[in-house]
Symmetry: C2
Subunit: 348 residues, 2 copies
DNA sequence: CAAGTGATTTGAATCGTTCTAATAACATCC
DNA sequence: GGATGTTATTAGAACGATTCAAATCACTTG
């Protein structure tokens, strides 16, 4: 029967060393599989490790080695499936590399973002993957994370500008192109009065998508009415509420390019409440391709972003940076792909 | 202009102490707001802290104090909105208490669960909140986390039994009662041939829900056909695929109690593909009340579990345990509430 | 003025690792 | 036999904080 210790102090290298008559240093070498140690000693030590139920104290090791084995992941809305998938991807890739994920959720609040970053940075993560809250400012973030910890920005830019010495990497989606593709698609289906729905212009990704939309509209020589730009918070409930604004004012749109899938699904709900049938009387596109997009009725035409893959990619970027801290900072623009489903019906 | 340090070593207590001519001990006292230190010294030290841009090294402090300021959160499927919400709730409550969340996602794999727990435990979390993967065994989990780290089990039981010395708390949903309520509701709406759809019997929560269903059926004197129990993985896609099995064999059911919302939404999709209209020709109930439940067409009748609140609650349980490690281990059964929407139509 | 008091400050040990430089034991070579 | 390697092992100082006992200082006070 293995001797287990139901209660008592934690086992340390000293206990093991004492337990089999070698020095602490030797045990440490065994732990890290050094070739310097004799086969027999190694076996004896390993047996003792098992017997006493030793567990490695990585925090102590990190302190001594001045390294880190964690990465902080700070997202603006974990409850959004896009970010949940993203987080799963990040955690997966970090885990494979032997890192652990420190989670922080800001709920789209700049204040909480500050608090969360502050708390996480004190735990000494090797780096930070940050999807900023709307309205988050570069100088504020830099002030709390400091210049020592590498940052990968995901999804959104920060407000203001970073000093040159902070070389932060970026992983962004091809927002402008995506929104342009969606708009062109709706135009090709015969729509001429097309709205842009959701989010706020505070967010860089929103501005980019809006720009793509405008680009396509202008290229097609189509006019754009002011009341075709409706802002809302990124929840289904708020999007449903905001839907009605599309029909107040002049000529009502027959289609909408939505900031993302959550906004699009909320818009569908709002339209249904008005008796307008999405995918029938009104065409809609989303952005993200979250799992629900394929499953909703009507299914949602959208831009696929492969959030889990993006998560892995963000993790890879950070790991690369940790390997080479001096490398030139880079921006990766992840491609997006138009997925046509039922919601982007032709003009009836 | 504040002097910032774009590059260089990390600032420690020693730097601060040297920088304003006091001892390391004094600076430490200032940091923790001790009343022992003189007002003037405190001011001088605080100024220096700001000037040098000091950041606290919580790992070092934890090592010395033999405490922990982190909690590991291990979930079986982060991409499931139910768990994403749960995670957000956990992180929120832990953050308020000054703890940081170490994330681990197992993707419903017992192997990954082991690996994830192993890696997390080495970072010395104060405790673990675990929603086990299907088929996870008590003795295996205990062996890797050890008896020193308190655990709160959420949502599912582990297989096998725990030794008495491991007093782990539990936060479970009132699965049996919930499923019974759902079934009784469908019976009250006139259904007599009711299926139980989704998940696998490996999972304790699934067995409990199934038991609740059987209980209601028996109480109403209704027969249960074997092919009315259809298992599937907890993704919409697999649920949609599995839907067809309901109609193979004898008398087809007119309603289904689903293991959870994801299964229910997938079932809807599968029914639509067969030309059966959920909420019209076929009644459905879910479990969890994820955000999409209210938004789907038809909207989904389900059992509300308030996942974010459960997350907070799990965190509270763990924090209470950290405050009093010797307290009797407890099991909390969180109430669930039937939310009637469109999907549970009367028998047509 | 010696001793007592309260308010501040500090030296040194410690947490559980890693790592450098030193030591020890033993074989090899001229 | 002494110089030279080779191979295994280890003592002890870090890492960046906390903490306790002890020291220092400025005042009272009998």
């Amino acid at each position: 029967m293995e001797s287990q210790t139901p209660v008592g102090r934690k086992i340390t290298l000293n206990d093991i060393a004492a337990g089999c008559g070698v020095s602490r240093a030797t045990v440490s070498l065994v732990l890290r599989g050094s070739p310097l140690v004799n086969k027999l000693t190694r076996a004896r030590v390993e047996e003792e490790l098992r017997r006493q139920g030793y567990v490695y104290n990585r925090a102590a090791a990190n302190l001594r080695r001045r390294t880190s084995s964690s990465v902080a992941l700070v997202v603006n809305e974990l409850a959004n499936p896009f970010f949940a998938e993203f987080a799963a991807g990040v955690d997966e890739a970090l885990g494979e590399a032997g890192f652990v994920t420190l989670l922080g959720n800001t709920g789209e609040s700049v204040g909480r973002e500050q608090a969360v970053l502050q708390s996480l940075i004190e735990h000494g993560p090797g780096g930070i993957i940050l999807s900023p809250a709307e309205g988050s400012e570069a100088h504020a973030v830099l002030a709390t994370v400091g210049a020592h910890t590498p940052v990968v920005l995901f999804n959104r830019e920060l407000g203001g500008t970073l000093p040159e010495y902070a070389h932060w990497d970026r992983l962004m989606l091809d927002n402008q192109r995506g929104a342009r593709l969606a708009t062109e698609h709706l135009i090709a289906r015969g729509h001429r009065r097309i709205a842009f729905f959701g989010s706020h212009d505070d967010s860089s990704s929103c501005r980019e998508r809006h720009a793509g939309y405008l680009q396509a509209m202008q290229a097609a020589g189509l006019p754009v009415e002011p009341h075709w730009r409706v802002e809302c918070a990124l929840t289904r409930v708020d999007a449903a509420r905001a839907a009605h604004a599309l029909f107040e004012g002049g000529a009502a749109p027959t289609a909408a390019v939505c900031y993302n899938d959550v906004a699009a699904l909320g818009l569908m709900l709002g339209l249904n409440q008005r008796g307008v049938r999405p995918g029938h009387d009104f065409a809609i596109t989303g952005f993200d391709d979250i799992a629900e997009a394929a499953m909703s009725t009507p299914s949602l035409s959208t831009l696929s972003t492969a959030p889990r893959l993006r998560g892995r990619q963000a993790a890879e970027l950070l790991l690369a940076r940790l390997r080479d801290p001096q490398a030139q900072a880079g921006t990766v623009i992840a491609p997006v792909e138009l997925v046509v489903r039922e919601s982007s019906c032709p003009l009836s």
